[in-house]
């Protein structure tokens, strides 16, 4: 057989191993929260620490690899909702709802991606060592910016405007979702509708309250 395929064989094996390790890490993080230690992950994978370090360099590398998996999956869903052939408002609501459904379905994953250091027990190292603080939001922002610029006519300076809006809208969605996930003050549909209303200028259109405080 391919007795003369040492490198390819090794590479395939290494990649499979890497996937296994990532899945083990996933399980641990999902179970123990983001405070999971490298030791615990190694144990779950049935091996010991140095192997993890050989594969991922350091904890930040493991975090990045783990985050990339989930981020890719999330972005995939969002792209689908964003590219759907529907009216703009419909698309916006679908995208918001997709995002919220995702974080609602797997809050542990969400918390890991967005607040990787929370839940670290005393003496434990957080998980976002390095500069990996929520690159998810950045990626989503850039992605949305691109879609906006491709599909909407914004006149001069559209590139800049699209990027500002991309990051702004993503941030709005994120913050509202984070708050909603914590307090559950209303249904998902209501939240989606309220946010879409905001984006549709209802804030600007609303009238002043009568007998307000002071003025």
């Amino acid at each position: 057989m391919e007795t003369t395929t040492p490198q390819t064989d090794q590479q395939r094996s290494a990649e499979r191993r890497r996937r296994e390790l990532l899945e083990a890490a996933d399980r641990v993080v999902l179970r123990d929260g983001p405070g999971a230690s490298m030791n615990a992950i190694a144990a779950e994978a049935g091996i010991t620490k140095p192997i993890l370090y050989r594969h991922f360099g350091d904890k930040g590398g493991l975090y990045a690899a783990l985050a990339k998996r989930h981020t890719d999956a999330l972005l995939e869903s969002l792209r689908a909702a964003l590219d759907a052939p529907a009216e703009r408002r419909e698309r916006v609501e679908q995208t918001l709802d997709t995002y919220l459904a995702a974080i609602e379905a797997r809050p542990q994953v969400y918390r890991f991606l967005m607040h990787p250091s929370d839940g670290a027990a005393p003496g434990e190292q957080g998980f976002d060592v390095g500069l990996h603080s929520a690159p998810v939001l950045r990626r989503m922002g850039e992605e949305l910016a691109q879609v906006i610029e491709e599909r909407i006519d914004l006149g001069p300076g559209s590139a800049q405007l699209a990027r500002v809006w991309g990051h702004g809208i993503v941030g709005m969605m994120h913050a509202a979702g984070d708050w909603w996930l914590g307090e559950r003050p209303c249904s998902r549909a209501e939240l989606v509708s309220s946010l879409a209303d905001l984006l549709w200028g209802r804030l600007a259109a609303a009238g002043n309250r009568v007998g307000g405080p002071g003025f």
Copy 2:
């Protein structure tokens, strides 16, 4: 019992001490970034670790106290801009600009408040141990929600709507500001104007691009 003024004296002294410690911690964090160690902070304050722990319990407590100081200051400025007697758009722009000016003027403080674990050197503990991940955003969101509900007439369900919008707008401002601070793609005034345009429904009003991709 309260023999004259021993307790009060002690309390005053303790409070002054606490302020001194917080100021020292501030200096260290501002200088060394959020990876500052308790030892370093204690040294800067001219004392040793256990005193810090007697005053703040644990690192999370120190973080919380530190964050509260800055958060209070920031909220103060924002409230002023938000309560100014001006047209709504003017007020919104002023508030956005105030926030952006603050994070632009003291990015170190900003990064500490928002991304407290970044910059932690290997082996160092991040700074947001505990559940203190960005309560700043929550507080700003609630504050804004209150102002919105007080001053704007939103019809039925206004309380809920105001809260969603409060958190959403704060998240928009935060994410856009974070991105802007990192890349500086445009002037502050442009960013403010773009965000206000977004809130004023320009996204909804814009026309579709001709010859878009696919459709």
